[in-house]
Structures are given as C-alpha cells and as structure tokens.
C-alpha cells in the first residue's frame, strides 16, 4: 500500500484512461473531430486574398494595344476574345466587363452587380494611368489583416469550450450510467472502495485528458491559422481546468439517476444543445434579443467561452474574467452538491 500506483484513485483513473484509449471511436471524436471542424470552418470562412478583376477585350482594331495596357495593370486579369464569346462570358458572370477599343473605349458591364461596378472603376483607372494621367493628390494604400478579429479567431476558443463541455459530460455521464446498467457499480460498492475515491478518479482522469484535448485544438489554431494566444498560458490552463471541473459536476448531476444509456443520452442533449446554440460557439450570441442576453451570459458554456476568448484574444488577466470564473464555479459547486445528494449508486 506504499506505492502510489496501488492507490485506488490511481488504479480507477488508470483503468478509465486505458479504456478510453482502447476505444478508437472515442479518440476520434475527442481529438480528431474538433480539429477537422476547425479546419473546415476555418477555410470556409477565411478571408481570401483580394481577387483580380476579370475582364475580356473584344477582338478588333486596336484591341491588342488595349489588351497590352490592361495586362500591365495590377489587379486585372485580361483575355482577348471574339465578340460573341466575350458576351457569353459576361452574361454568365465569368468576366465582369468587356472592353472594346476605338476612339472611345467602350465598357460593357452590369451595373447591378458589384463586380461589374468594381471592374469599371479598376479598368478605367488602369487605362487612364496607362495613357499618362497623373494623380493630383497622392494616396497611399496600407493593407490591413487584423489578427484576432477573423472568424477563425472567434471560432477556436468556442471549439475548445465546446470540447471541454462535451468530453466532461459524455466522459463522466455515459460511463457512470454504463457501469450502473452493467451492475459493475454494485460490484464496486460490494468492495471496500470508497465512494469519494470513485468520484475523484473521474476528476483525475478528466484532468489527464484535458491537456491533450485543449492542447490539440489550441496548437492547431496557432500553427495552422495563427490564432493568437495573447494572455498567459497559465491562466488559460486554469480557465480550462475550472471549465472541465464545472462540466464534470454537471455531467455527474445528469447521470445521477439515469438508468439507461438512452435515458442519459436524452438528458445530455437536453442540457448541451441549448448551450451549443446560445453560447456563441459558432456565431456571436449578440444576435439574440436583448431580453435573453443576461440568461445566455449566465450559462456555463458562455462563461467558459468568453473567458477563453478574453484570455486568448484580448490578453485578459484574472481580474478581467473574474465574473465568468465566478459563474463557472457556481455552476460547478451547485451541480456537484446536488448530484451528491440525489446520486443513486446502484
């Protein structure tokens, strides 16, 4: 009884870890799926590099000079076509404008489409400069991509929060109900195992996995999309830990009475789906009506996500996220307390 590896909490947690790692599907959903989701959403909503304006030049007298002039302009992609082909492309939107050379250069474009209006300005400007127009007042353009305000920056903290929530709830709730329905819980109770050891072992194995499941998504965001981590890593770890403990408490409460896997699955979804929708994982909850805002803000996932985001993107300190930490702690302590009262061991 001297070695730590013989301690019941260690053994219970070790078994939990081994069982999980031997379940390839579970590993996929916890570690791979969030990364795939971030990847897909990150690309779908990424800010693309400015695209060139596509224009066609109608073949005819003087068209090659016109084409050469446009070819030398930046931001313009030009091709020379016969009239018929050029108008076909214009109609189908594959070029935004067709130019025809002559004494007066003619632009054909659809002014109802923004690409058309843009092309008219860009091409007009390029031609005027090519024939020697001087700007009267010099303008200097400075391109700006604000790291921290992109969609992927918004998404990553939300995904981390969601992952912490799902793994804590499923990991604890599912497992407890499974043990109960397998009558393994009763068998454990027939041994001298302490109930507190059993519950603590869940927390221990949760903490063990937490670093990996948060780390994977965080590292992915950082290296693949340059999502910034402006606050202290230590504080970020603390927020994640508090979040994991909060949702472990809620998971325990959800699983405290359920007898079947089906029953607990329903309860889990009942608790989690509203938070997925409301807590601003995928889109800002400021879209919801003013009246429900305080309610949304007091949800544990909202608090966790806001705290993660504040630390990562705004470099917030402990003081800056104090209210969110309090909300999480209250949820955690409250649900754990109630769970212990109503928990059915067999």
């Amino acid at each position: 009884m001297s070695r730590i590896s013989d301690h019941p909490i260690f053994q219970l947690a070790l078994c939990r870890v081994k069982e999980f790692l031997r379940e390839p599907e579970a590993v996929f959903w916890v570690f791979v799926f969030p990364v795939l989701l971030a990847l897909a959403l990150g690309f779908a909503f990424s800010n693309r590099a400015p695209e060139a304006v596509r224009v066609a030049v109608e073949r005819g007298p003087g068209s090659s000079e016109l084409e050469a002039m446009l070819r030398s302009a930046s931001e313009v992609e030009v091709q020379a076509l016969d009239a018929e082909d050029a108008y076909d492309l214009l109609r189908s939107g594959r070029v935004a404008l067709v130019a025809r050379a002559g004494d007066t250069v003619e632009f054909r474009f659809d002014p109802a489409r923004s690409e058309g209006r843009l092309a008219r300005l860009v091409v007009g400007d390029a031609l005027q400069k090519a024939v020697g127009r001087e700007d009267v007042w010099e303008v200097r353009a400075i391109p700006v991509t604000d790291v921290g305000s992109r969609y992927i920056d918004f998404l990553i903290p939300g995904l981390i929060g969601m992952n912490i929530m799902s793994t804590a709830m499923w990991g604890i709730g599912f497992r407890i109900v499974r043990k109960r329905s397998d009558r393994l819980m009763k068998r454990l109770l027939a041994s001298p195992m302490r109930k507190s050891h059993y519950l603590l072992s869940h927390a221990v194995s949760r903490v063990f996995f937490l670093w990996f499941e948060v780390g994977v998504v965080l590292a992915f965001g950082y290296f693949a999309f340059g999502v910034p981590i402006r606050g202290s890593l230590l504080l970020l770890a603390f927020v994640a830990l508090l979040g994991a403990m909060t949702f472990s408490g809620i998971g325990l409460l959800v699983a405290s009475r359920a007898k079947t896997i089906e029953g607990v699955s329903g309860l889990m979804n009942f608790v989690m789906i509203p938070m997925w929708v409301c807590s601003g994982v995928f889109f800002a909850y400021s879209n919801f009506p003013e009246v429900v805002q305080p309610m949304i803000a007091s949800l544990p996932l909202t608090a966790l996500r806001d705290a993660l985001r504040a630390v990562m993107l705004e470099g917030a300190t402990m003081a800056g996220i104090g209210s969110m930490l309090v909300i999480m702690a209250l949820w955690g302590v409250g649900s754990f307390g109630v769970a212990l009262k109503v928990f059915r061991w067999e």
């Binding site: 009558r183 393994l184 068998r187 027939a190 041994s191």
Partner: protein, 338 residues
C-alpha cells in the same frame, strides 16, 4: 471472544421437522456463526421478494440457497451482503452488523454478483489489480490467477473471454482479498459442464483453506456437490433446511419411479399405494411419480398391474431421489420450469 455464537440474541427459533434439527443446537454450541438473520424481509410494493427468512450459517461451512428463479435468493443474498436495505431484521455477518462495521466487513467478504459485466477493454490482470487496490493487504495476483486457472488469459481483454472464463474472473475478483466469507450468486448459471466443474474445484479449494461459503443456485446437482447444508427457498421463504442427504432422506425413499399411460386410463392412488415399497405418490400432467423405498420390488409389481389391466406404459424412468424431488414433493413444481 469465547464461544458466544450469537450477536442477535432473539435467534433461537428453528424450522420444524427434519432430522437435522436435532443436531443443530449441538453444532451451534461448538461453532461460530458467519451469518445470522431472523425474519429477513423485503417487499417491493405487493411483491414479497423475501418474506421472513431465518438463516444461520456457521464458520467453515458451505451453505446453499436452492430455489427456482424468482424465489428471492438474489434479494436475500444481497441483503446479507449489505447491498439492499432489508425492510425488517438486522443481518449479522462475521459477528458484526452492517450499520456499524461496514468498512471492516467489506474488507473481509468476497463477492460475486449475478450478471456483473466487467469493463470489456481491460485485461484480466488489470481488472484484478483494480479490485486488489481497494484492499489494504497486498494481494497475490499470481496466486489468484492460478486458483481460477486464468494464467493464460491474464493479458486478454475481458471481451475476449468465454462465459466460463468471465465467471471465473468474477470469482477471482471475489477471492483477491483472501476473504473469510465468500458470497456466490448463481456462480455457474449458463456455464457448460466443464466450466462448472472447474468452478466447483475453485470453491472446494477455498473451503479447504478454511473459508466459509454462501451460495445461491437453482441447480440441485450443484447444491448436492458443494453444500454442507441447503435451504430450499420458494416465494421468499425457506421451506426446507438441512444437509442434502437429510433432505433427500426426508422423502422416506431413495428412488423415484416416473411413468405415464398411453390411454386415458386411470389407476387409483390406492392401487399404487398398495404396490410394494411405495412411499409416496405424486401426479403431474397425466404422469405419475412414485417415491420408492425398494425400487427392485416396486417396478415388477407395477408391470404386473399394468399387464393385468391391459394398459400400455408410454415411458418409464427410475432415478435416485434428489433435491429436485424434494422440491417437487414440497411445492408440486420443478426447480427449473422450462
């Protein structure tokens, strides 16, 4: 500690009948009690799962509760193990009560419950190590693996074990703390005959080392093979108690003759009773069961009677009387109603 065997002083009433009752008080003075309870009761709504059960199990003996499915055996054994709270009566185990000495008792008893599904993706030795960690004393993994003959399977996942191996793992988890008292709830249900024998050997080994066993079963053969004493349980009550030999002897006959007639012919009970060596008569689904003291006289006489009447027997079976016959004679039903 002396020879004061009772922790519950009101425990002095005994079931009537059976030769056994004459020597119980004698034994009781000599041996300590491992389990004692009086009028143990558990009702679920209108269902009387256990309805006034009196039990005394002595240290060192193997005690069996024999009864059909749904007789209340599991509820009873789980109450004795402190897993279900009885409606009435306090259970004394190893001279301790559950209320005050739960921790100590949990360390001293070994448990095999019905239908426990161990974690599928853990190996045999990982499962045993987990259970071993709950006990203070160092456990001997190798020894337990040897005892239940699972050495070869020690690194196999539980999901890869056969039914018999799973059951032996369950018993191994019960033996890992080297318990004073071992509870086995239907240990061999659903096992093939070979696995059953292997488990019986394990249980006998445990007894040889001085352990006490309490088991439930609905196999009369298992009770006869393993148990010093058997309580036959039906509808949550004990209807007979004694050693397997005494219980069978209570039938007053060593053999059973069973037969039926081709025709709807009836032979009266009086006529059958008049046959030589017949001790008792039972009828079931048109079949007749005679318990016989001297089967070698009964059967020829029966054949003669059948021939005189011009009847035809459609089946004739004789076998040694067993606990099954005791149950049948007490309840009119079979232990296993298939």
């Amino acid at each position: 500690m002396g020879w004061n065997v009772c922790c519950c002083p009101h425990m002095r009433q005994w079931l009537p009948g059976l030769a056994y009752s004459t020597w119980v008080p004698l034994i009781a003075r000599m041996r300590k009690l491992a389990i004692e309870c009086t009028a143990l009761k558990k009702h679920y709504g209108s269902v009387k799962a256990v309805d006034g059960l009196d039990l005394q199990v002595f240290v060192g003996e193997c005690f069996g509760m024999l009864g059909p499915n749904g007789a209340g055996k599991t509820t009873a054994i789980e109450m004795i193990q402190g897993l279900i709270q009885p409606d009435a009566s306090e259970v004394c185990v190893l001279e301790r009560s559950w209320r005050r000495n739960e921790r100590e008792l949990r360390r001293r008893i070994g448990t095999q419950l019905q239908e426990t599904k161990f974690a599928e993706k853990l190996t045999v030795s990982e499962t045993l190590r987990l259970f071993g960690s709950f006990y203070r004393k160092a456990f001997l993994l190798e020894k337990v693996l040897d005892t239940v003959q699972l050495q070869e399977k020690r690194d196999s996942w539980v999901s890869k074990l056969s039914g018999g191996q799973k059951q032996r793992l369950s018993v191994a988890c019960a033996l890992i703390c080297e318990p004073d008292l071992l509870f086995l709830d239907e240990p061999t249900t659903g096992l093939d005959p070979q696995s059953r024998r292997q488990l019986w050997d394990t249980i006998r080994d445990f007894r040889r080392s001085g352990g006490t066993v309490m088991l439930t079963t609905h196999y009369m053969e298992e009770a006869e093979q393993l148990c010093d004493r058997v309580a036959i349980v039906d509808h949550g009550q004990i209807i007979a108690l004694g050693s397997p030999r005494d219980l069978v002897a209570s039938l007053g006959a060593e053999d059973v003759v069973e037969f039926g007639f081709e025709e709807d012919a009836t032979v009266s009970d009086e006529e059958l009773q008049a046959l030589p060596g017949v001790a008792g008569i039972g009828r079931e689904d048109g079949r007749v069961r005679l318990t016989a003291r001297r089967v070698h006289q009964t059967v020829p006489a029966l054949m003669t009677l059948v021939e005189e009447r011009g009847l035809t027997l459609n089946e004739l079976v004789t076998h040694r009387a067993s606990l099954e016959d005791v149950f049948l004679s007490l309840t009119g039903r079979h232990l296993r109603d298939e």
